[in-house]
C-alpha cells in the first residue's frame, strides 16, 4: 500500500496535465485549503505490467460463457457475439447525455429503432429503454400501473398478485412499489390455478405479474382466460420477460393480453452479463399505458421537409412517472441489444427460440434425473430426488461444466432448473448430460465434499455471513493484503 499525504496548496506544482510531474512530494500537495481536504489516501501503487498480470490471473479464475455450457435456468446465459462489443466501442457513440438533441441524432436513432424493434417483438405499443436492469423494468411496470390506476381514480388498489414460483424480484418489486403481495399457488400441472386466481382477484387488485412460459418452462395455456379475469376486475397483466427466449416469433405477450412487460436484454438479446451486470430492462406497454412511461422517450420529429433522413427528439409522456435512472439507462447495453436484433432479424430470432426449445428437450431426454413437469419449452426443472440439489450443482463443477440453477422453484423437490439455450451443440449437450448422469449415482459423501477440481474448494458460506469481512480493512492480518 502507498500512503499519499494531502498537503497544502501549491498550485504551481500541479498546473500540468498528463505526464511530466516533478516528484512524489509535489504531487501530494493540494491546491485546496487544509480544512476542505482529507489527510491521506492509502491504496496500492502498481505499474501497468503488474496490473495486467493481476487481472489476467483473476480472469483465469472465472468460468464464463466462453468456458463451456452455462445452463442456469431462468438466467438465459447465451453466447455474447463479439461484434457487439465493437459497435458499443465506436467513439461516435461516446456522447454525454446533456448534449443537444440535434447533435446526437445518431444516438437517438439507435434508441428509437430499438424501441421500435422491441415493440414489434413483444407486441407492445410503446417502449421505454430507461430501466437499467430487469428488476428496474419491473419497478417501472409497477409504477406505471400505480400511476394508471391513480389517474383513473383507482388509487385504492393496493394488491399485486404474484405466483409462488415467480422470480424473487417480482415480490420485492411489488413491495418496493408499496403493494401488498398476494401469493398465488400453482395447480397440480404446475400452472396458474384458475380457482386460486379467482379467489385472489378483487377490486383491490392492481396487477398480476406472470412469466410465460413459467419458471417450469410450461406455457400458461389459459392465458387468454387469465387475462380476461384480471381485466374483468380492473387489474393489469404484467409480463416478466425472463423467459421470452422461448417464444420469439411464436407468440407475443401483447397478443396474449399482457398490458405491460419488461425485456431482459442480457437474456433474450445476448448482451453480456458482466459477472452481475450491467443489464437493461426496457419496458413495453399497450397504448393505454404509454402516457405513464418514464421521461424522456425518443420519437421521430415532424418532417422538416428539408432532409431525406428522419430526425429524432426526446419527449416527456403526458402523465409520465418521471425518471427511474439519472439519465437514459445503460447505453452500452442497449446498443449491443440493438446490434444483436439487427443481426438476427426475423429468421434468426425465431430460430433462436426454436433451437433453445429443442436443446432443452433434447438435454432432458438424455439425463437420468426425473423431470416431473412437461411439456416444457426453453427450460426444464429436474428433481435431484433424494440428493441435495445444491450439492449436485457443486459436484457438477468437478465435471467441468456449470451447473443449473438449484432449489427453485420449490414446487419441484430439490429443483435443478436447467436452460441450455440455443447456443449449445449436440456434443456439448451430451457432455452436459454426462455430467448430470455421473452425479446421479454418486453418494452423499462425495457430492457434499465437492467440488475438488476447482480454483477454490467448497467455500464456507456460513462463516462468511457469520463474521462478515467485506474489505481489506476488515481483514485481521494486514499482510494478507
Amino acid at each position: 500500500l502507498t500512503r499519499v499525504d494531502i498537503g497544502d496548496a501549491s498550485s504551481d506544482a500541479n498546473a500540468g496535465d498528463g505526464d511530466g510531474d516533478d516528484g512524489a512530494s509535489a504531487r501530494a500537495d493540494s491546491p485546496l485549503p487544509d480544512d476542505l481536504t482529507r489527510d491521506s489516501l492509502e491504496l496500492p501503487e502498481l505499474s501497468e505490467p503488474e496490473l495486467a498480470r493481476h487481472y489476467t490471473r483473476l480472469s483465469q479464475m472465472i468460468y464464463g460463457i466462453d468456458s463451456g455450457p452455462y445452463p442456469l435456468g431462468s438466467c438465459t446465459m447465451k453466447y455474447n457475439p463479439k461484434f457487439t462489443e465493437d459497435v458499443a466501442a465506436l467513439p461516435s457513440g461516446a456522447v454525454h447525455p446533456d448534449r443537444s438533441e440535434r447533435s446526437i441524432q445518431g444516438t437517438l436513432e439507435v434508441l428509437y429503432r430499438l424501441q421500435d424493434y422491441l415493440g414489434r417483438i413483444g407486441g407492445m405499443d410503446a417502449v421505454t429503454l430507461q430501466p437499467p436492469a430487469g428488476a428496474a423494468g419491473e419497478f417501472v411496470g409497477i409504477r406505471v400501473a400505480a400511476a394508471y390506476h391513480e389517474h383513473n381514480g383507482e388509487g385504492h388498489r393496493d394488491e399485486v398478485i404474484v405466483p409462488e414460483s415467480a422470480h424473487g424480484t417480482n415480490f420485492a418489486t411489488a413491495a418496493l412499489g408499496g403493494y401488498d403481495v398476494v401469493s398465488l399457488p400453482s395447480d397440480e400441472d404446475g400452472r396458474v390455478d384458475l380457482d386460486a386466481l379467482e379467489a385472489a382477484l378483487s377490486e383491490n387488485t392492481a396487477a398480476l405479474m406472470l412469466t410465460n412460459p413459467n419458471t417450469l418452462g410450461l406455457f400458461e395455456r389459459d392465458i387468454e382466460e387469465i387475462a380476461a379475469m384480471v381485466h374483468d376486475v380492473g387489474g393489469l397483466l404484467y409480463y416478466d420477460g425472463a423467459n421470452l427466449n422461448a417464444l420469439l416469433g411464436r407468440a407475443r405477450p401483447g397478443d396474449m393480453g399482457f398490458d405491460v412487460m419488461h425485456y431482459n436484454v442480457h437474456k433474450t438479446f445476448a448482451t453480456p452479463h458482466g459477472g452481475g451486470g450491467p443489464g437493461a430492462g426496457p419496458v413495453g406497454v399497450v397504448e393505454e399505458l404509454a402516457p405513464f412511461l418514464p421521461a424522456p422517450r425518443v420519437n421521430e420529429a415532424d418532417d422538416d421537409g428539408e432532409s431525406d433522413e428522419s430526425t429524432y427528439e426526446l419527449f416527456d409522456p403526458d402523465h409520465t412517472i418521471g425518471h427511474v435512472h439519472g439519465y437514459q439507462g445503460n447505453w452500452l447495453v442497449l446498443v449491443k441489444a440493438f446490434a444483436y436484433i439487427a443481426r438476427l432479424g426475423d429468421d434468426g430470432l425465431a430460430d433462436a427460440s426454436a433451437k433453445a426449445v429443442l436443446n432443452a428437450n433434447y438435454l432432458a431426454s438424455q439425463i437420468e434425473y426425473d423431470v416431473p413437469y412437461e411439456p416444457f419449452h426453453h427450460e426444464f426443472v429436474a428433481s435431484a430426488g433424494e440428493q441435495d440439489a445444491a450439492d449436485v450443482a457443486k459436484r457438477m463443477l468437478d465435471y467441468g461444466v456449470h451447473p443449473p440453477t438449484t432449489k427453485w422453484p420449490e414446487i419441484v423437490p430439490e429443483a435443478l432448473m436447467t436452460e441450455p439455450t440455443e447456443i449449445e451443440s449436440k456434443d456439448t449437450l451430451d457432455r452436459l448430460a454426462g455430467a448430470f448422469n455421473a452425479v446421479v449415482d454418486e453418494d452423499d459423501a462425495t457430492i457434499e465434499a465437492a467440488p475438488d477440481r476447482t480454483t477454490a474448494r467448497r467455500i464456507d458460506q456460513t462463516a462468511a455471513a457469520r463474521s462478515p469481512r467485506l474489505s481489506w480493512h476488515a481483514l485481521d492480518d494486514a499482510d494478507e493484503r
Binding site: I6, S11, N14, D17, P31, D35, R38, L43, E45, E48, A52, H54, S59, M61, I62, G64, L72, F83, E85, A94, H96, S103, E109, P132, A135, E138, G168, T169, A172, A174, L176, L218, D255, G274, G275, G276, G322, H323, H325, G326, F338, A342, L344, G348, L349, A352, K355, L358, N361, Y362, P375, I423, K426, A449, D452, T454, A456, A463, L470, H473
Partner: protein, 445 residues
C-alpha cells in the same frame, strides 16, 4: 458465421444432421411440435426485421452513430469524460469477466469476486465508512435506495427527506419514484451561492426528518465548506446524513466519515467508463450498523475446504431471491462489470494518480474560470467558492443562444440558467481548452 448456416441464428450451432438426431431423440418431427401454445395466441406474423451479416450490422450501427456531431464536450454535472486507460478496456473485455454470470458458484468465480472485493475496499478507503456494496445502477437509484434504507432504520416516526434545491432532475425524480411506495416525502432545502445554506437548512430540520442529502462537490462544481455542520444538524435530529460524491473528488476532499456521513452514494463510473450517454455505476457505502439493511450484493471473505482464503457473495438473505418481498431492495442484476472497470482505472492511477487527477480538476477549472472571466461578456466563476472540474459562468448573451453558437463551433456546454452556462474541464486537453476560450471570445459579446 456468414455462410456457415443456411438460415436462422448464426449463434445456434446445429448442423442438419445434429438437428435430426436431436429431434429423433426427443421423439418429434419438428421443433414446432415442441411448442405448446394455444392457437389463439400463436403469432404468425413477421416482425419485419431484416437479417444482416455481421459486416452489414456493423456498418449499419457505424452509419447511424455517424450522425452524431463530433463535438468537444465541456460537460459534466454528474457524468464525466475522463480518459480511461487502454489497459481497462483490454482487461475488462477478457471474456471471463465480460461473459460470466453473478457469482452464485463462488468456487469457479474467485477472480471476479476478488475484483469486486477490491472495489469494495477502494470505496471503504475513499469514504471512510465500513461497508460498501458491489454496485447499484447509478447515483440516482443509489439515492433512492439510501432513502428506503433511511426508512427502514429510522428510529423516529418522521417521513421527511431533505434534498438540495439544485438536485439534478433525474436524481430527484428517481428518488420520488423510489419513495412512492413508502411514507416518505421529499422536500427541498435552499442553497446559497452554489452550496448548502446551512442556516436555512437548520430551520428546516426537525424530528420528522429521517434523511438529509447533500453533495460534495455540488452539481455546480463547488466544494462544500460546512459539511461538518450539515452532519451535525442531521445527527442531532437522528436523521441519516447521506452524502453524494465520486471517487475522484473523494481522493482529496474531506473524508465522508470524518464529517459524519452515514451513507455515501454517487456515481463511481467517473473512473472506468468514458462518456456513455449517462450510463453509470451507483456507489453505495454506509456505516457498519446498517449492514443487515444494505441493498445490493456484498462480497466477503471466507475459507474453502482446504482452509485457504476464498471470496464469496455473502449476507444474501437480505436479497430478493431469498427474502422476496422482505428484501432490502429489488435489485438483482447490478453494474458489476462497470465496478470492475472502476477498480481497474483506480488501480492504474494509484493513490498518487488519483490525488493528481482530483487536484488537476481544481487547478484547471480555476484557471479556466479566471481565464474566461477576462472575456468580455462572461463572468466566471459565478460562485465565490472552490471548484473542482467545473464551474458556472454568467453570460451577457442568453445562455441558449451562446450554447448554440458554441455548438456550431464544435463545443458543447451546459445551459443552467437564462444567462448561465456550466463548463467542465474533465478529460479535455489543454489545446482544446485554448480553442474553446477562443471560440467563446468570438460569440460571448
Amino acid at each position: 458465421m456468414d455462410g456457415s448456416h443456411a438460415t436462422g441464428s448464426p449463434y445456434a450451432p446445429h448442423t442438419d444432421t445434429e438437428q435430426s438426431a436431436m429431434l429423433e431423440a426427443v421423439g418429434v418431427d419438428s421443433e414446432a411440435e415442441l411448442f405448446d401454445i394455444p392457437e389463439a395466441v400463436q403469432f404468425d406474423g413477421e416482425f419485419d426485421i431484416a437479417s444482416r451479416s455481421e459486416q452489414e450490422t456493423r456498418q449499419l450501427v457505424r452509419s447511424i452513430l455517424g450522425r452524431n456531431d463530433d463535438l468537444t464536450e465541456l460537460l459534466g454535472r454528474g457524468h464525466y469524460g475522463y480518459y480511461v486507460p487502454s489497459l481497462v478496456d483490454h482487461l475488462a473485455d477478457r471474456s471471463e469477466f465480460l461473459t460470466s454470470y453473478t457469482q452464485y458458484q463462488p468456487e469457479v468465480s474467485q477472480g471476479f469476486l476478488q475484483a469486486l472485493f477490491e472495489f469494495q475496499s477502494l470505496l471503504v478507503e475513499l469514504t471512510g465508512l465500513e461497508i460498501a456494496n458491489c454496485s447499484m445502477y447509478d447515483a440516482a437509484t443509489a439515492l433512492g435506495e439510501a432513502a428506503t434504507l433511511a426508512e427502514r432504520v429510522r428510529s423516529t416516526s418522521g417521513h421527511r427527506v431533505l434534498v438540495p434545491d439544485q438536485l439534478l432532475e433525474g436524481r430527484r425524480s428517481t428518488l420520488e419514484n423510489y419513495v412512492a411506495g413508502t411514507d416518505l416525502a421529499v422536500e427541498e432545502y435552499a442553497t446559497a451561492d452554489g452550496t448548502v445554506d446551512v442556516g436555512a437548512l437548520d430551520e428546516q430540520v426537525d424530528d420528522e426528518v429521517v434523511m438529509v442529502y447533500a453533495e460534495n462537490p455540488t452539481i455546480r462544481g463547488t466544494i462544500e465548506e460546512r459539511l461538518e455542520s450539515i452532519g451535525s444538524l442531521a445527527g442531532e435530529a437522528d436523521a441519516l446524513f447521506v452524502l453524494g460524491s465520486d471517487p475522484v473528488a473523494l481522493s482529496v476532499l474531506q473524508r465522508p466519515a470524518d464529517v459524519g456521513a452515514d451513507v455515501v452514494i454517487g456515481d463511481a463510473s467517473v473512473l472506468g467508463l468514458p462518456t456513455s450517454y449517462g450510463m453509470g455505476l451507483g456507489l453505495f457505502a454506509c456505516r457498519e450498523e446498517y449492514l443487515r439493511q444494505v441493498p445490493g450484493r456484498l462480497v466477503g471473505v471466507s475459507e474453502d475446504a482446504t482452509d485457504r482464503r476464498a471470496f464469496t457473495l455473502t449476507l444474501q438473505t437480505r436479497e430478493q431471491h431469498i427474502r422476496r418481498e422482505r428484501a432490502t431492495s429489488n435489485i438483482c442484476t447490478n453494474q458489476a462489470w462497470v465496478a470492475l472497470r472502476t477498480a481497474m482505472h483506480a488501480a492504474s492511477l494509484g493513490p498518487n494518480g488519483m490525488v493528481d487527477l482530483a487536484n488537476r480538476g481544481v487547478t484547471r477549472a480555476t484557471d479556466l474560470a479566471n481565464r474566461i472571466d477576462e472575456i468580455p461578456g462572461v463572468d466566471a466563476p459565478v460562485h465565490d467558492r472552490h471548484h473542482i472540474r467545473e464551474f458556472v459562468a454568467r453570460t451577457d448573451q442568453p445562455a441558449t443562444v451562446l450554447a448554440a453558437d458554441l455548438e456550431d463551433r464544435g463545443f458543447a456546454v451546459h445551459v443552467v440558467g437564462d444567462h448561465e452556462i456550466q463548463i467542465c474541464v474533465a478529460g479535455v486537453g489543454d489545446e482544446q481548452l485554448d480553442s474553446f476560450a477562443a471560440a467563446l471570445e468570438e460569440v460571448a459579446r
